[in-house]
Every structure is written in C-alpha cells, then in structure tokens.
C-alpha cells in the first residue's frame, strides 16, 4: 500500500513535467477551474492538432498504446501521471478522448490488420479526428434499440437513419457507427459496426444547442451514405459485441476521470462569501456540507486509483468503474447547487462581473448533462446492481422477439 510515487514513477513524472514545461504555460493553481463550455472553434481544433502532433513526435502521445500503433506501450499508471501533470498547464481543448480512449482500442481489439494499419497510427497523431455514432433519438439508455439501417449493396453497405449525441462530429473526419442490418432477429443480434468517412456524401451533421449554450454534441443524418465492407469492424451481426468494447473503455476513462472535482474551489468560495456576517467557511452548516463534498470527492478519486492500481497489476477493468460516474455526476450538480446558494442573490446570475464565482452557476447548468451523457445515473445504478452485486436483471418486454415487434409506444403517441 503506497499512495506516493515509486522512484520510477517520480522519475517519469519529472520527465513529463520537463517536456510540458518546454511547450506549455502553467496554470495558476489558485485560479478557480470552472466548467468549460464545449465550444471548439476552428482555431481551438488547429491548436489541439498542433499540440497532439508535438506530443506524438516527442513520444508523449497515447502512452498506453503499443509502439506499433504510435503509442509507447506504457501502463495506465504512467498515462494517469502524464494526464495529472498535463492538467496543470494551459492546453487546447481535449478532443481526442473518444478516439484515443474508446475507438482506437476497439479497432485494435476487433479490426482487421488492414484496418489497424490504415487507421490506428494516424489516429494516434491526431491530425484526423474521430467521433462515435451510437445513440439515436429512440435509442439512448436502450442503445441496442437503435434503428439506423445498413443494407448490403455489392461491396458496400448503404446507411440510412439518424444518430445523436455525437461529440465533435461536426469537426471530425472519421466515425465509428453501429447499425441495424437485420430487424427480423432479436435486437442485439441484428447489429453491425462500421468505420465511416464523415466527409462522405449523404452524411450531414447538425450541432445541438445545449441548455448551457454550448453545442459540443451533434445530430448526424445518414441518407444513402455508402461504406465499403472493408470498413466493417467485426463480423456481420457482431455489432453489439464490438460496441461493448467501446463502452467498457468509455467507462474506464470516465471512471478514472471523475473524482476530486472542484472541492478546492468550493473552499475558496466559502472563504470569499459571507454567511451571517462571517466568512461562510466559519458557518457550521456550510462546514458540514464542505466536509461531505470533500470526503465523497476524495473517496471517488481514490476509488478510481484503486481500479487503476488493480489494472496496472493486470486486472481487467470491471463494472466498478461505474462508481465514479454514478456518484460523481450527481455530486457535481449538488456541489454546483450548493455553491450557487452560497452566493445568495448573486447565485441567480451568470455574470462573472457581478457574482463572486459565476462558474458555479455555469456548472449548475452543465451538470444535468453530466448526469445523462455517457450513461445516465439510472443506467449506471443498473450496471452496479446487476453486474457488480449480481441482482436479477429487470424484466424485459423486448426479450427474444424480433426487433420489429418490440413495443415502441408510437401507436400511443
């Protein structure tokens, strides 16, 4: 049991910092972090690509990937150490999480050699960007209920339908999409997975405006978009199996991602604003809340580290990764709500000049998305209940029947 770096880890951390110091400006540790809007300008994207190229060329990109695919063959631990250090600097917006965290590993696991050679190393250097095309208007938590169709036509597949919640699709070059090639079999059996060119004819992106004004997500429409069979990932009808790989990796990245959150900023705010004439941090009720937020955040951070520690010793990432988001997402809303109330009447503002820290109100507007995107609170609780605690699965109205016969309620509407 050791929470500190081993000598090797410390050395690696120092090397990473040396590299980062060369290229980036350090953040002011006392400046509040704040939730960023998902608003990537063309310029942001260009800067992100430039930084990724620098990292790649210097051997600091996709550290956990095998060398043959442009990685460094390092463990998740080193990767986390590098991310911890990089987070202390001003960087361009992170736009590679999905490609490097989820899609690349999926191709490495299920792709053909040709696909690996063609796509993975290119993805690593990040001069082309990838998005995920999974959710649909009628298939959110029930992902396998998706309807976007793929019909075989010679050496191609013809894609029709609509995807939604595709992060960054509007600036992406490639996407990975799950489709339904056969509605006449039970829903999990009729799915097939492809790599698709986002610039191909018949592919159209429309950004979705979020309640916080951001628009990082897209609707993507497919109208007779053609994909060569050579871009099929996994066998026909194996789409669900391949998707699970993608999603498991999502869970790991998110699981590790959440954690300590913004508790420091909250303490800072509690010193700045007054309650009952004194700094709020001296108020007993405020202190009880601060303590709970601190303890839960620390607990999540170290829960993530425990998973990491196990993985770095060869364990395979399990459903425990869900805890980070199951607890962290609602926590982010509770903290933002509390921090807004701490600001009194100013908690009803989004005005950085009039409120002590408007980023909390921005955060309160952003937090509902955190509780929904990438697995809702409800889905994560189901995963913990069924896959960790082994409780019986929910009764299924759609089990063992042809997808086309699954009740949709559309008649009712």
């Amino acid at each position: 049991m050791n929470f500190d770096d081993t000598p090797q880890e410390a050395e690696f951390r120092a090397k990473a910092r040396a590299f980062l110091d060369q290229h980036l400006k350090r953040l002011d540790p006392n400046a509040p972090g704040g939730d960023e809007f998902e608003r990537e300008t063309k310029d942001d994207i260009a800067r992100a690509k430039a930084w990724q190229a620098k990292k790649f060329d210097a051997g600091w990109a996709v550290l956990t990937w095998p060398k043959e695919f442009g990685g460094q063959g390092l463990g998740r631990l080193e990767n986390v150490i590098f991310n911890q250090e990089e987070a202390k600097y001003h960087t361009p917006p992170p736009i590679y999480g999905i490609g490097h965290g989820m899609l690349g590993p999926t191709i490495m696991a299920h792709g053909t050699q040709a696909q690996k050679d063609r796509f993975v190393k290119e993805m690593a250097r990040g001069q082309v960007i990838w998005c995920q095309l999974f959710s649909e208007p009628a298939a959110g938590s029930d992902l396998a209920g998706l309807r976007t169709s793929a019909v075989r036509d010679g050496n191609d597949w013809v894609i029709n339908g609509q995807k939604i919640w595709s992060t960054g699709a509007h600036y992406c070059d490639w996407g990975m999409i799950v489709t339904r090639h056969d509605p006449n079999v039970p829903k999990h059996d009729g799915l097939t997975y492809f790599i698709i060119d986002m610039h191909a004819p018949g592919v159209e992106c429309r950004q979705i405006k979020q309640i916080n004004g951001g628009s990082g997500f897209n609707e993507v429409f497919f109208t007779n978009a053609r994909v060569p069979d050579s871009q099929r990932v996994g066998g026909i009808g194996e789409g669900w199996k391949v998707s699970i790989t993608t999603l498991m990796n999502e869970r790991v990245s998110i699981g590790a991602g959440q954690g300590a959150g913004r508790v420091k900023d909250l303490f800072r705010l509690a010193k700045k604003v007054k309650r009952g004439g004194k700094p709020a941090i001296q108020d007993s009720a405020v202190r009880q809340k601060l303590a709970d937020f601190y303890i839960t955040s620390k607990g999540l951070q170290y829960t993530g580290y425990r998973t990491l520690s196990a993985i770095s010793r060869g364990a395979t990432p399990g459903p425990e990764g869900s805890i980070g988001k199951a607890v962290g997402a609602p926590l982010s809303q509770q903290m933002a709500s509390f921090a807004s109330e701490l600001q009194g009447a100013a908690g009803g503002l989004l005005d950085a000049n009039a409120a002590p820290d408007a980023s909390w109100m921005e955060g309160y507007l952003a937090s509902p998305g955190i509780r929904i995107a990438g697995g809702t609170d409800e889905v994560l609780r189901n995963i913990i209940a069924e896959r960790v605690l082994g409780l019986p699965a929910e009764w299924r109205a759609d089990k063992g029947i042809a997808f086309r016969d699954v009740p949709t309620g559309t008649a009712k509407k």
Partner: protein
C-alpha cells in the same frame, strides 16, 4: 377548520389558468429568454387589463380590492406558466411595501399606477454575494438623496421605481427612488433565468422619498419579505406542479426496452417523492396563505415554511424533469431548462432557503 379555497377563489384561479394557457404559452417565456427583452409586453398589458396587478390593492387605490387568497392562486398560475413579466417585483414587493408602510399620499401617488401596470416597481435589497441583512447596507440616504449600489435587482432594468433599503443615520430606512430620474445608473446583468432579468442599480445622489418612518426600514423590509415569500412560494408551487406533470407525461410516452420508462420502479418512486415534496409545500402554502389573508401572527413561521418547502420542491422537480427526459432534456430546444432556470432564479430571490431555515428556527423558538 376549512382547508379549502372558496368556489369564487377557485373560479379566479381557473380563469387565470385558462388565460395564461392561451396567452402565456412557454414560447412566450422562451421568446423573452432568447431575445433579451425585459419582459413580455403584451402579456403584461393583458394581466393588467384583467386587474391582476391590483388583486390585493384596495379599490380606493385603483385595485380590485380582492384578497390574498385570490392573489396566491394567481401567483400559482403565473408560476405554472413561467410567465415572463415583472409581476413579483412590482406586485409582491414594491406595491406590498407601499401598502404596508406608505403614507396616504404615497399610496395615492403610486398604487393606482402600479395596479394599472403603467408603472413597474421593484425592491432593491441585495448588495452582491452571500446572505444579506438589511442593516448591513452600504447604500446611504441623507433624507433627500440616495447614494450607493444595489445588485442584483430583479427587473431593475424595466422598473420605473424601486423601494431601496438604505442606511439613514444610524438606522435603516426604505426609500422610493424614481429610476428614470437623475443620478441613477442601470446596467443589466446576465441572469441565470433571462426570462426574469436582473440589473445593477447605481445611485449617485438620486432623489429619494422615504417610505415609512426613519429607522424602521429593516422592520418593514422583513414584513414585506414575509409576504413576498408566500406569494413567490405559490409561483414555485405552480412551477413544481407543472414540472412534475411534464415529467409524468414524457415518461409515459417514452419507451425503452419495450416499456414506457414510467413503468420503471426507480423512476416511479422518485416521481412519488417529488409529488410528496410538492404536497408538503402546498400544505405549508395553505397555512401561510391563510395567515397572510387574515393578518394572523403565524405568518412569520408559515411564510418561512412555505419559502423553504416551495423552493426545495421546485428545485427537485426541475432537476428530475431534465434527468427523466434524458438527453433531450439537456437540449436548448426542449423546455425543461426553462423550469430549471426559473427554479434557481426564484430560490435565489428574497434570501436563500438556508437563510429562511435559520430565521424559521428563531421564529419558532420565539413563538
């Protein structure tokens, strides 16, 4: 004991609901929110013509001379409709302050114009962040002129007059200031709920007309805020009821795994919890409305109970509204965020629930 509104009162509510269903659809709220308008002028004109603004104002001051039991029900419907008008600022706060503490002359001068809607009033209390105790005010009144800054002030951009909490000598007084007069600077602030705008008011020797006796400002302000807590509480209750109703409707029509998601027990139990919270708020609201309408001394405690339970109910209902809508609930296009914004805005107005909880304990303990 009779815990029901009279048929006449229910009729007033029904009429209000019907009118707002037609003239205050959510598009109206959305339009103000997206356009940066100060409020919806047609709607304001309409409710003025219906006499709602003067519901609790005596007839000799141009009001309808009805009572607070009618006004709370109108408030509930305005809340249900997320009406984007300065009703709370002008009626619950400004007009109430003048009714409570105004001289005959002041009542004659202001109330008719507030009742007709030609004049919009507000109440300038807060001075930045944290909780706020009137006696901490840094705004000063020298008997003639007001100096200092107030923010955020609800509807401070649209209002023609503001009742300002200010230091006068050693004490605190309330002062009526003409916001269109000299020595008043206004700046709009970015509001969490742009359908209920907020502004910063800077007074540089602006002419002031004292409301009530010198040094009585804190006492009067407390009385005004108690009354406003009940009325705003009913707006929150109306908003919470509608948010729950919208959650119910959506989850019954949205299918996942071949079932309406409303059939999943976890969602059912959470909707039941929201329902219970709303009912608790309504019951406290009845108590406070009764105390308000017949000047019962229990108002102090009942108002605080209503303020807290209604704030909590609307906050929870609006959070669950988005959560149970899933992804679409997080889109600008869907209306969920209108409720989420209004819930936060109303909870931040006239003192936070935490401050009211603290006050409630003192009041219960003193009772």
């Amino acid at each position: 004991m009779n815990l029901e509104f009279s048929d006449d009162q229910k009729f007033v509510q029904k009429a209000a609901r019907d009118y707002l269903a037609e003239h205050s659809k959510l598009e109206v709220c959305r339009k103000v929110l997206e356009s940066g308008q100060a409020y919806a002028p047609e709607l304001w004109k309409g409710v003025a013509e219906l006499g709602w603004l003067g519901t609790a104002i005596p007839e000799q001051y141009g009001g309808a001379g009805l009572g607070y039991l009618e006004l709370v029900l109108i408030a509930q419907e305005l809340g249900r409709a997320l009406a984007p008008i300065p009703f709370a600022s002008s009626v619950y706060l400004c007009a109430e302050a003048i009714l409570q503490a105004g001289s005959e002359e002041q009542k004659k001068k202001y109330l008719p114009r507030l009742a007709s809607g030609e004049l919009i009033g507000t109440f300038a209390l807060a001075e930045g962040a944290g909780d706020f105790n009137p006696s901490d005010t840094t705004v000063t009144f020298d008997g003639k002129a007001v100096t200092g800054a107030k923010f955020p002030v609800p509807d401070g951009g649209a209002a023609g007059i503001a009742v300002v909490v200010a230091k006068e000598g050693a004490g605190v007084s309330l002062v009526i200031v003409n916001l269109d007069g000299a020595g008043v600077l206004r700046a709009n602030l970015a509001a969490f709920d742009p359908s209920r705008p907020q502004a910063k008011l800077e007074f540089k020797g602006a002419a002031g007309d004292r409301l009530g006796a010198a040094g009585q400002g804190a006492k009067i302000a407390t009385a005004v805020l108690d009354r406003a807590a009940v009325l705003i509480g009913y707006e929150q209750i109306g908003g919470a009821e509608r948010a729950l109703d919208a959650t119910r409707t959506y989850t019954m029509s949205r299918f996942a795994f071949g079932r309406p998601i409303a059939s999943f027990q976890a969602l059912k139990h959470r909707m039941a919890d929201v329902f219970c919270k709303v009912q608790i708020a309504i019951s406290n609201g009845y108590w406070a409305a009764w105390a308000l309408s017949n000047g019962n001394s229990e108002l102090a405690v009942a108002a605080a109970s209503t303020r807290v339970s209604a704030s909590d109910a609307f906050t929870l209902a609006s959070e669950e509204l988005i959560q149970m809508h899933g992804g679409v609930g997080y889109t600008w296009e869907y209306d969920c965020h209108l409720f989420y914004r209004r819930a936060r805005a109303l909870a931040a107005a006239i003192g936070t629930p935490s401050e009211w909880r603290d006050a409630l304990v003192s009041r219960v303990d003193a009772a």
